[in-house]
Symmetry: C2
């Protein structure tokens, strides 16, 4: 299995070596993504699976045992960010295929159908919206809302889809009925370093922390740094800088509460005019807040709001908060979590129950079907970067967990 995983990892990355200093760039709905999809189809065909492309460009590889049997969905994606790694998404597709191979090698005849799905355009790198393929499958895609969004070359989502041979008018027909799947399971690299740092092999995810994202714009008055006395300024950066630390300190404090888990970051700062001899007249901060507990996110948002009101009053500036994103966090299926945890432990893996701080295709699938997410370690937590790395043994571990879970679901 190790050799097979090594070989197919390269195949899905359309490369002969995983050592690529520039990483991999396979944007959603690009020729490069398409080439990876072709590799997926080849492997699926080798395994004797029936393959087809749906209306949103997702690739399906189905082990069909009986027309009317329930179908277990597995999978992830093959697109990447610009100069991304070769494991984000690929690991989930690869381990799903490998799990099917395991069952086939064991000559198991499943009682349920198994569908490995390779979702299109999961990353937001190209179009700033993520998980297009899984949104389409779960009925979460609003075609009209996104059709004018374009990439940095001015190509719209509609044009990009048409360039890879899809019919824009039919994209939403990729939606599957609730009865089409019984459940869905994704495996993904952690993209954090909790597993590695704490010596765990497998993480069973109980929820996906989707973000609240705020734009905080502070307007003061740009003026000459040399001719404007200290006591007669409306320096937007001096006014709003304490918010950067407030966000961190509040999140740290909230994490001290029993069972609470939240991360919050002032990740973006843009200063105008940003010139050495000009007092900052305008600053825009971007703030990203994530927790599987929506109440915690709302509470921090409210604290930020109050903080900004006091900045306005104390500093004679205007502060405007815009909520850019307010996505409800997603709870994964408790029964599946329990089964996956038990299966992983029974295989002898050090297993932890954890949150996902990043979004994945499973968050859309979970809105319609009982869904689960398995994490395997990311070396140093590095992701979206050429240095992204997960050991083959971890891919093998993940494969074994999926295979054992599948076996428990489809046999007996």
């Amino acid at each position: 299995m190790i050799n097979w995983l090594e070989e197919k990892l390269c195949a899905l990355n359309v490369t002969s070596s995983m050592n690529q200093s520039e990483g991999f760039t396979r944007l959603g709905y690009s020729d490069e993504e398409k080439q990876a999809h072709t590799q997926f189809i080849n492997i699926a065909n080798e395994l004797g699976l029936h393959t087809f492309e749906d209306e949103a460009g997702n690739q399906w590889a189905v082990w069909k045992v009986e027309e009317n049997a329930p179908t277990i969905g597995l999978g992830s994606h093959l697109d990447t960010v610009y100069s991304g790694g070769g494991y984000d998404g690929v690991a989930g597709v690869l381990c799903a295929l490998a799990a099917v191979k395991t069952l086939k090698d064991k000559q198991i005849t499943p009682k349920k159908n198994i569908a490995v799905i390779c979702f299109a355009s999961e990353e937001s790198a190209r179009f700033s919206v993520s998980t297009l393929g899984s949104k389409a499958v779960s009925g979460e895609l609003n075609k009209e809302a996104i059709k004018t969004i374009s990439d940095q070359d001015g190509t719209t989502i509609k044009q990009a889809m048409e360039q890879v041979g899809l019919n824009w008018e039919k994209v939403q027909q990729a939606e599957r009925a609730e009865s089409d799947l019984e459940q869905f399971l994704e495996l993904h690299i952690e993209q954090g370093k909790i597993l590695e740092d704490q010596g765990f092999d497998i993480g069973i995810v109980h929820g996906i922390a989707r973000p609240i994202r705020l734009s905080v714009r502070c307007e003061g008055m740009a003026n000459h740094t040399g001719t404007t006395p200290m006591n007669n300024r409306q320096d937007a950066l001096v006014a709003i800088a304490p918010l950067i630390n407030f966000v961190e300190q509040e999140a740290l404090k909230m994490n001290e509460r029993e069972g609470a888990s939240i991360v919050a970051t002032a990740s973006v700062a843009t200063v105008k005019p940003n010139a050495m001899n000009m007092i900052p007249g305008e600053v825009e901060l971007g703030i990203d807040i994530r927790s599987t507990d929506n109440n915690l996110k709302q509470e921090l948002y409210a604290s930020i709001y109050t903080f900004c009101e006091s900045v306005e009053k104390d500093r004679n500036v205007k502060v405007m908060i815009t909520m850019l994103v307010n996505d409800a966090s997603v709870e994964l299926d408790k029964e599946m979590q329990g089964k996956l945890f038990a299966v992983s432990k029974s295989l002898g893996y050090k297993t932890i129950s954890m949150d996902s701080g990043a979004g994945h295709d499973v968050m859309n699938m979970a809105l319609k079907w009982p869904s689960g997410l398995i994490f395997i370690p990311s070396h140093k937590g590095i992701s979206h970067h050429p240095d992204e790395f997960t050991e083959i043994k971890d891919l093998a571990n993940g494969t074994k967990v999926i295979a054992a879970y599948l076996e428990s679901e489809v046999v007996g």
Copy 2:
């Protein structure tokens, strides 16, 4: 005189109306600056002055009474920043010409020569180095050090000078011997709002606060905002943000000391990767510190240094401080200050002694000749902006101060 000032203000701005929503753009060594210089020559010729251009592109208009008599220099510049105002620089050239006209109208025969100088390329907007013309005259221009500096279109200073007909090889020959001038006097708009806010007509400047400029680079570790726990981050923005407020608070504290005056600003902030879902891995702050007291500037620099050492220790980041600029501040001639103050008061003007927080051509001239600087009010302190405005009555007041000062120097 009011009508003459209004007319010539427009002429020097090469316009028929001072109401220009886009302001004026006359970059150093551009055709636009050249057109303004031509207007200067025309006015000077109307006044019967002898005009010539020196090797650095400065325009001289000389009222020569005797070859061996001392020469009093007056003047400022006509170039602007991008979309600047019509008073910064122009006011000083205009009032100098108007003062000469005043003496001529009074049919005074001066005992000294008077030279009105229109310095080239005072603003740093085009080439990031300022006061090129007055640096050349005072011998402060290092041709070799600047020859490869280019504007945003890639045109070097050398090329720009050649495009307006100058000979690069001879630029430093614009330097004048100490004996060529007896003294130099500039008038400028304040570019701050001390005069207007406190109801003064005239400011007599005792020193020019030139900057220390620091680049403070903080290196942490970029990582995913969703997958990196709060207690396992090296957030460069969280680490360095308190420095923004430290700089302000330290400057405010120093100003509380008897006689101390300093301004300090974190004016530039650049964050990498500056993406919503990435923890800031690197932040570069630009800090501008100005005081006429060089010791105060050095003291604040030392405090910032110590502060950054503690940031490194407390936050597990690297902080590197680079001193980009360390210009010694310039004291103006005390005797001239006294005379100018007395002349201004005797004309009935509310007069204040003050610092200049911005650099001007006079700071170079002061390195070689006894020099003075007169400020007139800037409406709301706005400068380098289309809304820059100074009332004609203030230009008339400034003219009267220069004329009366000249009269006291050249008569009797």
